[in-house]
């Protein structure tokens, strides 16, 4: 399936149609474009024209994401407060059990900050990936009834989590300020802060690539959604979420950072708490993101054709 012509052609056709409707059916033929607007064929590709179509439907991405956000907090007593409470409560729990009771080494850094800087990217990743996995199956009624680029569904479910991520970042700033100005913990703002959007951007794209792959697989193989929570739990422990990557013995570290999330989470923490950026780990994350995005898009595009038939 392709839209062969640009969005301009679509809206032009829209105008032609409006004028023809005034004049009645006789004018209808005059407004027809020379080339077909849409060609439905057995084999489709996702070339530049597919991207134009995505652009045409960009508002739907916004509305679907908005729906996800609104629905999540409708009929909750505390509403958006939950977005703030969740990471704080998690931080409190981990601080009490791991920081205070198990005394996980924090390299002289306040343990709540260590945990929070890990939970910030991790919570986004795990919740967005899980939501994304269920998104296609959860929207089966749309997929079997109406056409729009299917990729918008998983993309919107990730986009809906961006609000949570943004709020987490604001809380982060609050925590950092508290430790800097009230607890007088030596934190300095360095040029590395400028890299924060880059690392978070990578994290979002990494989640999107993996999400596309997994959500498409889940349409056909529902095992995915059963196995995923377990795998995510495991993934958390092999990533520096509730501990510092310094804990990993140096000789294993090169393997440890083959996990693309390790580099991203470590990156966020190094930027915020001041530390050397692990360029090798970030390079691994960048490469993995690129591969996953391409792979995810290709697999998704191939699987997409049969969604309505197998979902």
């Amino acid at each position: 399936m392709d839209i062969l012509q640009s969005e301009g052609a679509l809206s032009q056709a829209g105008i032609a149609q409006t004028s023809s409707s005034v004049k009645g059916s006789a004018a209808g033929a005059a407004g027809l474009p020379d080339k077909p607007l849409i060609v439905i064929g057995a084999a489709g590709t996702w070339g530049g024209s597919g991207l134009k179509e995505l652009w045409y439907y960009r508002e739907l991405l916004y509305f679907l994401a908005l729906r996800d956000v609104k629905v999540r907090y409708k009929q909750t007593l505390l509403g958006v407060i939950w977005v703030v409470m969740q990471p704080l409560l998690m931080t409190l729990i981990f601080t009490v059990f791991l920081g205070v009771l198990a005394r996980v080494p924090a390299n002289g850094k306040p343990y709540p900050l260590v945990v929070y800087t890990g939970l910030l990217p991790w919570t986004f990743f795990s919740s967005a990936l899980l939501g994304c996995t269920y998104s296609l199956v959860g929207n089966a009624n749309l997929i079997t009834k109406v056409y729009f680029p299917r990729i918008l569904i998983p993309a919107a479910s990730i986009a809906a989590r961006l609000l949570d991520l943004a709020i987490s970042c604001v809380i982060m700033l609050g925590l950092l300020s508290y430790y800097r100005f009230v607890a007088h913990f030596p934190l300095t703002v360095t040029w590395q802060f400028a890299l924060m959007p880059v690392v978070l951007g990578l994290l979002i794209l990494f989640t999107l690539g993996l999400g596309l792959l997994i959500s498409a697989l889940n349409v056909k193989y529902r095992d995915v959604s059963v196995a995923l929570p377990v795998l995510i739990q495991l993934w958390m422990f092999v990533s520096p979420v509730i501990y510092l990557s310094d804990l990993v013995p140096v000789r294993f570290r090169i393997y440890y950072f083959l996990n693309p999330l390790a580099g991203l989470i470590d990156g966020v923490r190094s930027i915020l708490l001041g530390g050397a950026l692990n360029t090798f780990a970030l390079a691994v994350s960048g490469l993995a993101t690129l591969i996953l995005l391409v792979l995810g898009a290709v697999v998704f595009r191939r699987a997409e054709r049969n969604f309505a038939d197998v979902i």
């Binding site: 399936m1 679509l10 056709a13 829209g14 149609q17 409006t18 023809s20 409707s21 004049k23 009645g24 059916s25 006789a26 004018a27 209808g28 033929a29 407004g31 027809l32 474009p33 077909p36 607007l37 849409i38 060609v39 439905i40 064929g41 057995a42 489709g44 439907y57 508002e59 739907l60 509305f63 679907l64 908005l66 729906r67 609104k70 629905v71 409708k74 009929q75 009624n141 749309l142 997929i143 079997t144 009834k145 109406v146 056409y147 729009f148 056909k220 193989y221 529902r222 095992d223 054709r305 049969n306 309505a308 038939d309 197998v310």
Partner: protein, 437 residues
Amino acid sequence: MKPIIKVKDVSKQYRIGSVQSANRTFREVLSAAARSPVRKLRGQSPSPYQTIWALKGINFEVYPGEVVGVIGRNGAGKSTLLKILSRVTEPTTGRIELFGRIGSLLEVGTGFHPELTGRENVFLNGAILGMRRAEIERNFDRIVAFSEIAPFIDTPVKWYSSGMYLRLAFSVAAHLNPEILIIDEVLAVGDANFQRKCFNKMQELRKDGRTILFVSHNMQAVTRLCKRLIYLEAGVVADDGDPTDVSVRYMESSFKTKSQKRWQNLGEAPGNDIARLWSARVRNESGETIEMIDIRRPVAIEIEFEVLEEGHVLVPNYHFTNEDGAYAFVAADHDPNWRRRPRPRGRFISTAWIPGNFLSEGALRIGVAVSTMSPVVVHFFEESAVAVQVIDKSEGDSARGDYAGPMPGLVRPLLNWTTEFLPAAEGAGQLVGESAS
């Protein structure tokens, strides 16, 4: 003129039995992969699936401004064709070219979320159906007005009654502005009032020169709305053309009954030792056998039967049922010449005339019988012997007048209407004045 839709050799293959196997688990995939070499060694087919062609080599073109009905029985491939046209699923082979924006109403309210308010759902649903945000904002007031639920527009739709929900959903869809609109049985939902509203909206779109593909089982609605019908049968286009011709073909194949039936020899004909049926047919005033009758014209049901044993009083009687199988009426022979009079041996032709402007629209199936009344003996009763299609061209002089929507009823007589008019007296007409004076 250039077509706005070109459908070329479109086929769609489905796996059957894939209801379970479609959602295959990894274990099944793995075990199938492990088994397949073994199966190949044994010479079995590597594919465990059976396939069916839901559509086979469909070809047609639709021109701008045409209103085309797609009819066919369940499983004929209507829904598949619709899904392919609206790009929900892709064809296995073939190609479709669309020269205009396409909007499809496969189900109203697609994507409505119960937790969201009416307003939020209008925007969400509009975007899902392919409207731009600016377009929705421009039409928002009209959408709400059409739906008649303005006071509740900021209430979550889960508190709506199903009627309100449906009205809002249809309003959004009705304000879609594509050049090509695909509609699937939308008229089948909702109460009569709402159906009428939907129907009028479709008429309006038609007058607007919009190209409409309308898929339905409802022959009456289809013949009334469409100037052309495409009849699908077992995945192929069985007929394509004038609604009256196509609907006859559709009726024949779905009823397995034509407007004429005859038997070559009496031995096989229905009946007993007293009377046997030769033939039955539907005919018009000029004596031609017809498949279809204008609702305003009289139509005759005629049977020819052989009386094999003399001395019996025989009463031919006809049984009329509509497409839904509901009994419309029964008619028994009233010819004064043969009432209560024993018949001699020989051949009889009995004809019953149904006046114009009496039958309801749609297909009518006629069963024919010959009985003796006291005591009751049925000599033969051929159920659905013949059938006829009653067509209302909506030209304003039938019983429906200028109303074009669905009209219930087993019969639709044109009655004698009279009106009395009392002119308003001078100075009267003010509501207060009359009781005060």
